[in-house]
Symmetry: C2
Subunit: 367 residues, 2 copies
């Protein structure tokens, strides 16, 4: 009589190679490897800093990258930022460090006083946490000489981001959501088109625990309200919603690329003028450049000028919050077309636009 099947054997940890994984998990790894190579252009020999919170997403990021590192010739480091907002956060950070030790990834830990930062900047805890986290990650990346910061955002986060941007009045292609690769900020999001369920399944199969951040359930944050209240209703209408939004994102990337190329050509023919005003950088878009462009292209030129100044002044924070509102861009272009002189417009990153003499001048607003 054949023996009854016994309980599933605990799998070895850390997982030695892809072929030791269940087939679905191995496919997930290969899918992410292909995405990293083809879409993110991740080069062999790259040094990557993983941003780890201890939640399911970033834990899966660490495991997946650990599996792919030998295949893709990657060097890994990790940073965990303890926001110090919840009593359990210190324990979570220690658990991440233990996981990284098991995976053989050197992991640093930084403690941030997010509450103090929020008070100092006069912004909410969520916004302050985001800013502090990105600043510490960039500091660590630069100190290590790493090439990229890797974030654990997945397809569910992308859908939330699209809905957040739609709610906030974003334009196009900004509406299509966060970028999988952000060169200016050295960010990569290798899981951006992966369903969160696949990440949790991988962790369960490997017997790896993660922390559930209680603040993810709190309806005090807009992002969570969209996640828990709005997105389930939309998914009920179309169970393939997230796939649809991922497609929209790809269309947005294509359009973004198209506008960049269109502006590159226009700026080669009619360069913008960079200078300083009151000790802060400024950009003037000359009349000939503006006149050569379709209004739809001019709107994207305004975004580009605004972003160039924001990057120089290092005041522009985050990628979704730094998006100018479409209404402001349309109003700016209407002022230009109607020849309304000396009209001012406030844009993100403390950038101000001024229409004057058929030109548009962008400058950083100095306090």
């Amino acid at each position: 009589m054949p023996a009854a099947p016994g309980p599933a054997q605990p799998r070895p940890f850390p997982p030695p190679a892809l072929q030791d994984l269940p087939p679905g998990d191995a496919r997930l790894c290969l899918h992410i490897e292909r995405f990293c190579r083809r879409e993110l252009g991740l080069a062999p020999g790259s040094h990557l800093l993983l941003a780890l919170s201890g939640g399911a997403d970033s834990t899966a990021l660490a495991v997946l990258l650990r599996l792919l590192a030998p295949r893709m010739d990657l060097r890994l480091s990790a940073l965990s930022v303890d926001h110090g907002l919840r009593p359990e956060s210190r324990g979570e950070t220690r658990r991440i460090c233990a996981l990284c030790r098991d995976l053989g990834i050197p992991c640093a830990m930084r403690r941030a006083d997010v509450a103090a930062a929020a008070t100092a900047w006069g912004c909410g805890l969520e916004e302050a946490g985001r800013r502090v986290r990105y600043a510490l990650l960039e500091e660590e990346r630069a100190a290590l000489g790493a090439d990229w910061i890797l974030l654990g955002h997945h397809a569910g986060d992308l859908s939330e981001d699209v809905l957040l941007r739609l709610t906030r009045g974003a334009g196009w292609p900004g509406l299509a959501g966060m970028a999988p690769r952000d060169d200016a900020r050295h960010l990569l999001r290798p899981l951006l088109f992966t369903a969160p369920a696949a990440l949790r399944a991988l962790l369960r199969h490997l017997g790896i625990r993660w922390s559930e951040d209680a603040s993810n359930a709190s309806l005090d944050y807009r992002r969570n309200r969209l996640r828990h209240e709005v997105l389930p209703l939309l998914r009920r209408e179309n169970p393939a919603l997230d796939r649809g939004l991922a497609t929209l994102h790809r269309l947005g990337s294509l359009d973004g690329n198209f506008w960049e190329e269109t502006l590159d050509r226009a700026l080669t023919a009619h360069p913008w003028q960079k200078g300083m005003e009151n000790g802060a950088p400024a950009i003037t878009l000359p009349r000939a450049l503006l006149a050569a462009l379709h209004p739809a292209a001019r709107l994207r030129l305004y975004v580009r000028a605004c972003r160039a100044l924001g990057e120089e002044s290092r005041r522009s924070e985050g990628d979704s919050h730094g998006q100018p509102r479409a209404a402001t861009l349309l109003a700016l272009d209407a002022a230009l077309r109607e020849g309304r002189g000396n009209t001012h417009f406030q844009l993100p990153g403390a950038v101000e636009a001024l229409v004057r003499g058929g030109c548009v001048r962008f400058r950083v607003w100095t306090y």
Copy 2:
């Protein structure tokens, strides 16, 4: 002792002129007049067929156009379609006819068997009602020799439409929602950027009653679920949501215009080839045309070819349902780029696309 204020005097009906209206309502009229002139390009002397359901929106449309007709030199007719789905619909249609008599607008009434049409076409009641209604309106417009059919869609409908399209996986600029002017289908939507509350306020101030269609409250329809369940949550996050979506719509129109101009230029240099296949129209996009365009422009070319065939074959119904899904367009372009021959794609309006020899051929699928 001064007399207590009496009840408000009923205002004269029909309202003789704008200056007899409360200031807010007069401003609303002027706003819509400006929109009709500037954005819709409505010419003096036009003959307009109003689509009236008896609901608040189309009742307000009738009143507003009646007020604007002498100022804009417009000739008005109306059609009310009784869908015969609810016992009260016959009474509602009679009430519309009475309103039109008071307003001096000749009104026709048509009865449609929507339930039978839904069975015949194998589609839902909502879809069948829409198709029958538009067909009868177009029949009446042609019979009268009228220039345009006027629809009562307002800013709330536009927001719903954007959300419907987002849910369904629309691309850009289709995602930005229904057009205020649709030349191919002779449709104008003069209220598209007007808040529904302003329309109801106008009717209340004039003492004009409207019918509440009970099916608007039914959660059996996706549109109603988005209206009653999802949009209120998004408006709670941003009370200016509808204004933001109206801005998005304007950005979409600009982009739509940009892509049309870009394709016009490309098609002048490399025309597409029109012909017949199995007795149905077909369009071939030549290799030189496809190679000259950025992928983002090619996607819009596919939409244009698909729409041109749909219009010829008269099978494409409605403006939102006729939008190809972005995923299909991206897959079609990937097949072209990767040189995958003999790959077929199904598009709305019974159009099929076929990649072959570096060309893309669109044809109407014949049964």
